[in-house]
């Protein structure tokens, strides 16, 4: 038959097909000696047909590593099974180039079953091998990555059967990858609730069912094969194919034992601290109560002493040594009454409950305080100036007392110069920042915090006062949610700052 044109059939002879096929054909004896080869293969390899069929063996055309594989695997498989398919081997061409190939082989047998001929088909696999090596490199990278990360990773197919576990997952579950693959995830990853111990649905299965990412779950423990209970954080996501169909899931989890232990320690410490604070508050209250009762009860016998001292003076005349002695008694008793009054106000400051105060005008309270201090101010020749003051959330008596104590303090600790005292205010968020600046003797840095402690007097009896005024201020301010502190330059003066809520 010849070629027929115009839409008829085109004949291709078997001979030409053999020679020009898009793959290499090679036949050898059982011992491997090449007896026949097609033109395609001779062209690929660069050898002439004569060079190949004059004693060369099939294995001689391969790389050395390939030749070992041929002798230890390929030829045996061919002899035992008659057929070997899809073996990747590299040919070495005449010019030294390497031709990656995929080889199929068949063994022809005679009627008695004895092998007579080996037939090989050689496919050029240059591109494919390159692609396979990239694939292997990618797989190795993925494997190394999954082996290196600190989280457990488990993947499943769409039925929830495990397809992969990384080493961290293996050690947390106590199952190895080989044994776990093919098992249902519920058999390998047993999850329970931290406190109830009830079974928890595996997030991987939820991800499969809902087709959505399942976020971190708390309070989950992993029950390992040796019955350890490991607290874990886990999350899962569905794996989708290109068409968006869910084909599996990936579960990522991590051991949070250390984190849980730290959280618990923190909680315990917090609870302990709370208990301590409560204890402290109670003992403070008790102390204030005691101070209040004690000072209250001390007042009446003291008043009796003062009254009877006056009576003595009136009745038995006031002259000479007797008068002097009575003056001592009166002065000591008066000082004691001041002390007791201050103590009482300190105790009251801490025991009076804070009621939600109506905002009050600070200007009025400052004025009242200055009136109370009139005699001291006049005596010291002090000048007190002020900024316009706002309204603040504090009880009237408290703010009056604060001003009185701070200004009284500034006068008491004045320097040689006449006292100059200025009260100002600045807004700070929802707080007012008050300051009371003086030109007094100042406070050494090491005493800046100590001045607020009760009965702490830096100058003994050479200055008036009981050493309780600043402690009362501190207590009143703190009870109203503010703070008080002092900045000072020794010899130049001090500025007391305190904050109070703006009352809006």
């Amino acid at each position: 038959m010849g070629e027929s044109h115009g839409g008829g059939t085109i004949d291709d002879s078997a001979e030409e097909l053999y020679e020009m096929a898009p793959c290499g054909y090679l036949s050898s004896t059982i011992n491997g000696q090449i007896v026949k080869v097609n033109r395609t293969l001779t062209e690929w390899l660069g050898y002439s047909r004569e060079e190949l069929t004059s004693g060369k063996r099939f294995a001689d055309l391969l790389t050395v590593g390939g030749r070992i594989f041929y002798e230890t695997h390929f030829s045996l498989l061919l002899r035992m099974q008659n057929a070997v398919d899809e073996i990747a081997l590299d040919f070495v061409c005449k010019d030294g180039r390497v031709l990656p190939a995929l080889i199929n082989a068949r063994q022809k047998r005679d009627a008695g079953g004895q092998p007579v001929l080996n037939r090989f088909t050689v496919f050029n696999a240059s591109e494919r091998r390159l692609y396979e090596r990239q694939l292997v490199a990618t797989r190795d990278l993925l494997r190394t990555t999954l082996a290196s990360i600190g989280d457990g990773v488990v993947t499943t197919d769409c039925d929830g059967l495990i397809t992969f576990m990384n080493p961290v997952a293996e050690s947390l579950c106590g199952h190895n990858n080989d044994a776990a693959v093919g098992k249902h995830i519920n058999e390998v990853l047993v999850l329970a609730h931290e406190t109830t111990g009830h079974a928890v649905e595996n997030p991987a299965l939820i991800a499969l069912r809902d087709g959505a990412i399942v976020g971190l779950a708390n309070h989950t423990v992993l029950v390992s094969s040796d019955d350890r209970r490991i607290p874990i954080d886990d999350s899962a996501a569905p794996i989708r194919d290109e068409a968006g169909q869910v084909i599996g899931s990936v579960l990522v989890f991590r051991d949070v034992s250390a984190q849980r232990a730290a959280e618990k320690a923190l909680r315990d410490a917090h609870e302990k601290l709370g208990a301590r604070a409560e204890e402290l508050r109670r003992s403070n209250d008790d102390l204030s109560q005691f101070a209040y009762v004690a000072s209250h009860d001390l007042r009446s016998p003291l008043n009796t002493i003062l009254q009877f001292t006056q009576l003595l003076e009136q009745r038995y005349g006031a002259a000479g040594e007797g008068k002097e002695l009575l003056d001592f008694v009166t002065s000591a008793a008066t000082r004691m009454r001041t002390l007791i009054d201050d103590l009482l106000s300190y105790a009251t400051a801490s025991s009076t409950p804070v009621q939600a105060p109506v905002p009050i005008d600070a200007n009025a309270q400052l004025t009242k305080a200055l009136e109370n201090l009139r005699s001291q101010i006049d005596e010291a020749g002090a000048v007190v100036t002020q900024d316009p003051l706002p309204s603040v959330a504090i009880s009237e008596t408290s703010l009056g007392q604060i001003f009185q104590n701070l200004i009284g303090n500034a006068i008491a600790y004045r320097s040689e110069a006449p006292p100059r005292i200025h009260v100002s205010v600045a807004e700070q968020g929802d707080m007012w920042l008050f300051s009371c600046r003086d030109n007094g003797i100042g406070i050494a840095p090491e005493y800046l915090t100590k001045v607020f402690a009760a009965f702490r007097r830096l100058h003994g009896s050479e200055r008036p006062g009981s050493g309780i005024g600043l402690a009362v201020c501190k207590k009143l301010i703190e009870r109203h949610g503010g703070t008080i502190w002092v900045e000072s330059i020794l010899g130049k003066g001090s500025t007391f700052y305190f904050t109070l809520r703006n009352g809006l």
Binding site: N31, G65, T72, S75, L76, M80, Q81, A88, V181
Partner: protein, 266 residues
């Protein structure tokens, strides 16, 4: 079934007062003796086994440390010999011939005779010594192994085992007797081709037969002759059979040579 039997998938066939232990070489399993066994069945008790890692052996018994040297394999051979009853005639192919030599040096009483098919004490060229290969050639083999897992798929195997509706699928895979865990295959390749047992040869006292193939590119003539020179009193037969597997390429000739050797006294 004993631990050793299960570990090595030991099969015993044939009848006779003497036992031949056939030890397969690198790359396959006991099935490679298929064409040789019939020639001995009527006169000998024949023990076939798979090394750990090969064929239907217990893969879980594989230890990279134990099988990091041929000595680890020799210890297994001795356990198998004790299991089936010493002394035995040992026939080993390729790397197994060296494993047999090591085992017989450790326990001379356990072996009556050794038959070494295509032995090589060292595959790597070393100064004057020509083993046939350089180290880079072995790397090339490892690369080829990486590209040919011969139907072995970690992910597929358990799935196929479970596929009860198509049992022929599992059978088909089981039939592929070169099928080995790729990691084990590569490790065994390294241990085999990078071993050097030249210094052990003079220590052997058991009578040995060296069967040298024609055109063996794995263990060429010069290597077989080296073994013959260093094994005292050994016999050497050059076979017509070509390639590295005379028991496959020329089973009748191979059987004849072995029988002739076994019939000799001492």
């Amino acid at each position: 079934m004993s631990v050793v039997q299960r570990r090595h998938n030991i099969n015993i066939v044939g009848h006779g007062s003497k036992t031949i232990l056939f030890a397969h070489g690198y790359g396959c399993d006991q099935a490679m003796w298929r064409f040789l066994v019939p020639a001995f069945e009527n006169d000998y008790r024949i023990v076939l086994f798979d090394y750990v890692g090969a064929g239907k052996s217990d893969l879980s018994a594989y230890s990279r440390q134990k099988y990091g040297t041929l000595s680890g394999y020799a210890d297994d051979v001795l356990e198998i010999v004790d299991e089936v009853g010493a002394p035995v005639i040992f026939a080993g192919h390729s790397v197994s011939s060296m494993i047999g030599v090591l085992a017989a040096i450790k326990r001379p009483d356990a072996f009556e005779k050794l038959v070494l098919l295509g032995p090589s004490p060292c595959y790597i060229n070393d100064n004057e010594y020509v083993g046939g290969f350089g180290r880079s050639d072995i790397e090339g083999l490892l690369k080829t192994l990486d590209e040919n897992h011969l139907g072995w798929s970690r992910a597929m195997a358990p799935v196929i085992m479970k596929n009860e509706s198509r049992p022929e699928l599992a059978e088909e895979l089981a039939e592929s007797f070169c099928r080995t865990d790729p990691e084990i295959a590569k490790h065994f390749a390294r241990v085999t081709f990078l071993s050097d047992n030249r210094a052990d040869l003079p220590l052997l006292t058991t009578p040995a037969l060296i069967l040298q193939c024609s055109d063996d590119s794995i263990a060429p003539d010069s290597v077989g002759e080296f073994v013959h020179r260093h094994l005292r009193g050994s016999s050497f037969v050059k076979l017509e059979a070509s390639g590295h597997c005379p028991h496959l390429s020329g089973p009748e000739e191979t059987a004849r040579s072995i029988k002739e050797f076994l019939s000799r006294r001492g």
